[in-house]
C-alpha cells in the first residue's frame, strides 16, 4: 500500500473534482446525477486506493472508476427512475450573461457535443477535452482502441455535418 499512494489519490480527488464533475455532467447531462456520480467515484476511489499503482496516471484511474460506475450503475438508475435527459441547452451551458455573450461559439460547441450519441460524446470528451491518448481512453472505457477511433471518426463526421448547417443546432 504505502501512504504515498494514498496521498496521491486523496490529493487528486480533491484537486480534480471540477474535471470529474465536468465529465460526469457530460455523461449524464444532468446536474444532480453528475454530483452523485462524482460522489460515488470518490467513495470507490478511496475504498480502492490500495489498488492504485504509483507512477501511473491517477487522473486516468479516477476517470476509469467514474466511467465504470456510470456504465454499471447510475445510468441504469437513471433509466429506471425515468430521470430522462433534460434539454441539452439547459445543461451544458455556461451561467452568467456576460460569459454567454462572449462565448457564443463555445456554447454552440457544447451543444453540438451534447447532441452526439453517448458513446461518441464520452470518447470526444476523453480525447479532445481531457486530452487522453487513444490508448488511455480505450483503457478508461474498457474498449478496444479501434472502437475509440471509430467513435471519433463518427463524431467528426457528425460535427462536420453540423458545420455545414450551423442553424440546425
Amino acid at each position: 500500500m504505502g501512504e504515498t499512494d494514498h496521498d496521491i489519490v486523496t490529493a487528486a480527488l480533491t484537486a480534480e473534482l471540477p474535471r470529474l464533475w465536468r465529465y460526469a455532467l457530460s455523461l449524464s447531462r444532468n446536474h444532480h446525477m453528475a454530483e452523485e456520480l462524482v460522489q460515488a467515484t470518490c467513495v470507490r476511489a478511496l475504498e480502492r486506493r490500495d489498488q492504485f499503482q504509483a507512477g501511473t496516471n491517477v487522473l486516468a484511474w479516477l476517470f476509469t472508476i467514474l466511467s465504470s460506475i456510470w456504465k454499471n450503475q447510475l445510468r441504469a438508475d437513471k433509466v429506471r427512475t425515468g430521470g430522462g435527459f433534460v434539454d441539452p441547452e439547459e445543461v451544458l451551458v455556461v451561467d452568467g450573461a456576460r460569459q454567454m455573450e462572449t462565448n457564443n461559439l463555445l456554447r454552440r460547441v457544447l451543444r453540438e457535443v451534447e447532441s452526439l450519441p453517448e458513446a461518441q460524446r464520452q470518447t470526444v470528451h476523453l480525447v479532445y477535452v481531457e486530452q487522453f491518448t487513444y490508448r488511455e481512453a480505450a483503457h478508461i472505457l474498457d474498449v478496444p482502441i479501434g472502437t475509440i477511433m471509430s467513435r471519433l471518426a463518427a463524431a467528426r463526421t457528425a460535427l462536420a455535418g453540423l458545420a455545414r448547417a450551423p442553424d440546425s443546432t
Binding site: 480533491t14 457544447l110 453540438e112 457535443v113
Partner: protein, 271 residues
C-alpha cells in the same frame, strides 16, 4: 490514389492522423497516400470540419462545478445525520470519516500546541484527517488518534468507575478485569467512542516508563483471528478477533512487550 497494393486509408486512420496518433511509419504512408489522392484529401478536409475548440468550450464548465458542495460532501461525513442508507460502500466510507473525526476531536484536546494554532490551520488539519482516514479501517483511525497522546494526556489518573461501567455495558463485555495494572502498565481511564456506527471502547493505560497505551474493543462480525503485530504511525499494534469482538492494543512499545501485555489483556476480557 495510393499505388496498387496499398489499402485506401479509412476514416478512422485519417482521424488518427489528424490527432497525431499514428506511428511514424503509418504517418509517412498517409502523407504519401494523401499526396496521391485528391479524394482522400477531400475526406481529410471533411473530417477536419469536425474540429472544434473542444477544450476551450468545456473549460467554461469548470467554473460551474459545485466544488464547495462536493468538498462539503466529503467532510459532512462528520455529522451522523448525513449518513443515509445509500450504497454499502458509501456508508462504510462516511462512517470511517465520522470515526476519524470523533477520534481526532477527542484526541485533539490533549495535543500539545494545538490550542496555539490559528483556527484556519485547525480546519485544514481536520479536513486532512477526514479525507485521508476513509478506507484505512478502524485500526488506522485509532492509530491516527493515538499518535496524539503524550504522557501528560493520562496524568493525573483519570480513572472513572462510571465510565468503565458504561463502556462495559454498551459493549456487552465485562472489562473490569482489564481495567487494572497489567504487565507494568496501569489503567487510567475508559472512554466510549464510536467507529463505523459501532461503539468502540477505549481503555487507556500508562506505562511505568511514561508511555501511553490504548486497548480498544469493538463488536466484530469477522471470524476469530489470532493476535498479529503491525506498525502504524510509528506505533506498535497487536490486534486480534475473538468471540465476536475485535481487539487492538496500541502504543510505542517493542513488539515483545506489547505481545506480553496483549496476552494478559486477552485473558482478562475472555467471556
Amino acid at each position: 490514389m495510393p499505388t496498387t497494393g496499398q489499402h485506401m486509408p479509412t476514416d478512422e486512420e485519417l482521424v488518427a492522423y489528424i490527432d497525431g496518433e499514428l506511428s511514424l511509419d503509418a504517418r509517412q504512408a498517409m502523407d504519401e497516400a494523401l499526396a496521391a489522392s485528391p479524394e482522400l484529401c477531400a475526406r481529410l478536409e471533411e473530417l477536419h470540419m469536425g474540429d472544434r475548440p473542444f477544450r476551450e468550450a468545456f473549460d467554461l464548465l469548470l467554473d460551474q462545478a459545485p466544488v464547495e458542495r462536493m468538498l462539503a460532501r466529503l467532510t459532512e461525513q462528520s455529522t451522523p445525520v448525513a449518513v443515509k442508507p445509500v450504497e454499502g460502500p458509501r456508508t462504510d466510507w462516511r462512517a470511517a470519516g465520522i470515526a476519524a473525526m470523533i477520534l481526532l476531536s477527542v484526541g485533539l484536546g490533549f495535543a500539545v500546541g494545538w490550542g496555539a494554532k490559528p483556527v484556519e490551520e485547525k480546519i485544514v488539519e481536520i479536513e486532512k484527517v477526514v479525507q485521508v482516514a476513509p478506507a484505512k479501517g478502524w485500526r488506522q483511525a485509532v492509530a491516527d488518534y493515538q499518535a496524539l497522546f503524550i504522557t501528560e494526556s493520562l496524568t493525573p489518573d483519570q480513572g472513572d468507575g462510571a465510565a468503565l461501567a458504561l463502556v462495559s455495558e454498551r459493549l456487552g463485555l465485562p472489562l473490569e478485569k482489564a481495567a487494572a495494572d497489567v504487565g507494568g502498565v496501569s489503567f487510567r481511564r475508559a472512554t466510549l467512542l464510536a467507529f463505523n456506527g459501532k461503539e468502540l471502547a477505549q481503555l487507556a493505560y500508562l506505562g511505568d516508563d511514561g508511555v501511553p497505551l490504548a486497548f480498544c474493543i469493538l463488536r466484530s462480525a469477522n471470524a476469530d483471528a489470532a493476535p498479529a503485530f503491525e506498525v502504524r504511525n510509528d506505533l506498535g499494534i497487536v490486534h486480534w478477533v475473538e468471540n465476536g469482538y475485535g481487539y487492538m492494543l496500541i502504543g510505542k512499545l517493542p513488539e515483545q512487550r506489547l505481545d506480553t501485555i496483549a496476552a494478559d489483556l486477552r485473558e482478562r476480557v475472555r467471556l
